[in-house]
Amino acid sequence: MNELSPNDVVITQADAAESGPVRDALEGRADIMAMTQATHDAALKPADPGGLSHGERAALAARIARLNADEGLAAHYATLLEEAGADEAVSAMADPAYKGGGDTRRAALIAYTDLVSVYPRETAAADIEALKTAGVSDADIVRLSELNAFLAYQIRVIAGLKLMKAMA
């Protein structure tokens, strides 16, 4: 049986570590929480990041958290961004007001992220073509999609746990 990790990002963000009904429920799904943390590590800090650096991943994750009004989670990713030692242009991607500063590839990564994180139903074939045109490889398109998809999941688990906790 798995036990809940004291370093679990989701549990920390939802402030759900203290004993009580929410923690009891989480302990019953400790395996899922451990796998959730493993997917966080795979999406943010993969051993082989391909063409999407750890810094870019952390910056886009902070951006997605902000687009979903989760400042606590954005702060977590700002820490990862600092740890990655990213340069200024990469760090700028964490700010939703920044649209790429004229860099074609960064602008394409941002445009896709802004669409898929908030309006996934609007995504069309042309949005994938736009990434290809900007020079993003097929493998990196999958990596970018997984990063966005993971964040959508993580943000919603945190939001749900906060609601559970408020009711407990």
Binding site: A38, D70, R143, S145, R156
Partner: protein, 192 residues
């Protein structure tokens, strides 16, 4: 010829990728492991072959998906499928909706719920417990801030326990993930 479909259905379409799937005969040992390819199991879907482009995420996501949808205890399997459909309808993922609506129908042995959801979308009227589950999943999917304490109270009033609430949150959130892959990286098509 194949036609892209835009309407909800329980007939599972073919998924046509918009990016290149990896080629099985060029797969790395790590990819083969994540794909669970063995000499007796060489059939892998295009969807999984596309995801194998990011093998580190794929190999941890697959067991996570299975645990959330099929682990013992907690919220029933049909209700987890209903939650998946709530998310998939909001995100307009035709493929995910088809797979999970048909699984719901098989598990619940009832087609009326999906008929209503396909006809009325997020406004579908269901019995109290199904309504509470579907509404919460749909709102959490639209934007996390849309789901509120009122929705939690409705779930409680419908009889959901803490372990069931957690499974509902996990299954709805999981389809925030799955929909963003299926709906963006490929098209649901029927072949003539």
């Amino acid at each position: 010829m194949s036609t892209i479909i835009h309407e909800f259905t329980t007939e599972i379409p073919r998924w046509r990728p918009r990016v290149q799937p990896i080629k099985l005969d060029e797969a790395t040992p790590e990819q083969l492991d994540a794909l669970k390819v063995t000499p007796s199991n060489t059939k892998v879907s295009d969807y999984v072959l596309v995801l194998a482009n990011d093998v580190e995420t794929l190999k941890v996501r697959t067991p996570l998906f299975n645990a959330i949808m099929y682990n013992r205890g907690g919220m029933g399997r049909a209700e987890r499928e209903l939650s998946a459909v709530g998310a998939s309808v909001v995100n307009h993922c035709i493929y995910c909706t088809a797979v999970h609506a048909s699984r719901y129908n098989q598990l619940a042995k009832d087609e009326e719920v999906m008929r209503r959801i396909f006809a009325d979308g997020e406004d579908a009227e269901l019995d109290e417990r199904k309504q509470a589950i579907f509404t919460f999943a749909a709102k959490l999917s639209k934007a996390p801030s849309e789901a509120t304490q009122d929705d939690m109270r409705a779930l409680r009033a419908a009889g959901l326990k803490d372990d069931e609430l957690l499974d509902l949150i996990l299954s709805a959130a999981l389809f925030g993930w799955a929909n963003r892959l299926m709906h963006t990286l490929g098209d649901p098509v029927i072949d003539d």
